[in-house]
Amino acid sequence: MKAAPFEHHEPTSLSKAVSLLESLDDPTILAGGQSLVPMLRFRLARPDTVVDINGIDELDYLDESDGYLKIGALARHADIEESDVVTENYGSFADAAPLVADPQIRNRGTIVGSIAQADPKGDWGSVLIAHDGEVVAEGPEGERVIPVDELFLLPYDTSLDENELITEARVPTPPEREGSAYHKLKRKTGDYAMAGVAARLRFDDDGTIADAGIGMTAVDITNARAADAEAHLEGERPSAELFQKAGELAAEQSNPESDEHGDASYKERMVNVLTQRALGDAAERAGVVKRRATP
């Protein structure tokens, strides 16, 4: 099926994009198009105007600066995969990138577009939650920073205004003694998650957990925070028992639906398992524990 006709705008600067978004009626932003193009084609979306941001070079970046990993709106999934900074320091991002879709999609799709899409099955939302990340939005009223916990409202719905554009997603640079990981269960390579868990652990000098972040994929109406599990971990020393309890709490807090891939109770068990694995990796990467030989 063909997309309904639309007017196509290709601004080459952020300021032009912002003024276009302000002046146009019902504009839709086109980034990597790996979610939007099929939606247009199946006429699930029928915007009159499409603002294609691919020509805005100033949004094409991925760097570590001012205490953040900054992901510009045009950074593609493949850029994360290929980044040395990410491989070194951001375990959950390095884990997630090659698990998103397939190589062709990763060459086009953007991290920010995926977050803006707010698909509860999207992987990056969970990673952002685990890292207490935020997005920077630019609109007619100027710039504002939206913490991830205030971003996702419903499936495919965010707190972004209609004419706002996300310029950047960012997460704090991990200090010493912090590690993170992402685990995803899927039927086959290239699929969306049946369940996924991103975990981040920061340790005090004495080896207790100072801060924990856990984000869950595909098991609620949005990417969701496992707040009870996080609270249970903080102030404790890592152990198999502790992670097991955290896994149980995450599973309890998840809210998956039964579908053709598995019933809800199975997915809850998977949340439990994936949480334990992600926590184990995070702790190991923080340099605090050596994992036991058998999972």
């Binding site: 639309f6 198009g33 099929p38 294609d52 491989t87 698990l99 060459n107 992402y182 390579t189 290239g190």
Partner: protein, 217 residues
């Protein structure tokens, strides 16, 4: 009411200018405006990879982007394979591999598989089986069971390596000024000077296995 937009694509080395509506998909522009039907449409949802082409050397799904977005870029389709320097007189080693190793049955997925295989070998001339499977993970085949596709790409890697050795490490230019140049350095079957991008594995090998196991269930 929609406007028509003039766009220029360099397709397999030849510059082509066409008029398209903004809603025209790249795959339709290639198949219908340029009459190059080697690039297939299998699913229309971004899943199957039959429509894979190289855009400035990178594999993308041409059903997932508008033609206007490819304005000014170099596109390679399956029709360009036999004009590559590495193809010599006849087939490109990848095509030869699919022939010799029975890498196809119905052939529907083959153009996309060839493009993904080409992109892989340009980056990484000596891939192992896992890397090959990863590179074609966005391409579905309903016939072969993939085994022979992997063998076909392995065949091509070896053949290209032999060619490079015979040429003293450099693939000969075909001297034809119209010869296809995909725009990527050390590309088109030549030995790559770039270090292959390290494959980012999952968290921990011990757990990778477990996850892989559950994936296939």
């Amino acid at each position: 009411m929609t406007d028509q937009r003039e766009i220029t694509l360099t397709v397999n080395g030849t510059e082509r200018t066409i008029e398209v509506e903004p809603r025209r998909l790249l795959v339709h522009a290639i198949r219908e405006d340029l009459d190059m039907t080697g690039t297939h449409i299998g699913c229309d949802t971004g899943n199957c990879g039959a429509c894979t082409v190289l855009r400035d050397g990178e594999p993308i799904k041409s059903c997932m982007m508008f033609a206007t977005q490819a304005d000014g870029s170099e596109i390679m389709t399956v029709e360009g394979m036999e004009d590559l320097p590495a193809a010599g007189e006849d087939l490109h080693p990848l095509q030869e591999g699919f022939h010799k190793e029975h890498g196809l049955q119905c052939g529907y997925c083959t153009p996309g598989m060839l493009m993904s295989g080409k992109a892989l070998l340009d980056e990484n001339p000596d891939p192992d089986e896992a890397e090959i499977r990863d590179a074609i993970s966005g391409n579905l085949c309903r016939c072969t069971g993939y085994q022979n596709i992997v063998s076909s790409i392995e065949y091509a890697a070896e053949k290209l390596d032999e060619q490079a050795a015979a040429d003293g490490g450099v693939v000969a230019e075909d001297g034809d000024s119209d010869g296809f140049d995909c725009g990527v350095e050390n590309c088109c079957g030549g030995p790559s000077a770039e270090t292959p991008t390290p494959h980012v594995e999952g968290a921990d090998p011990q757990f990778d296995d477990v996850t892989e196991g559950s994936e296939s269930e």
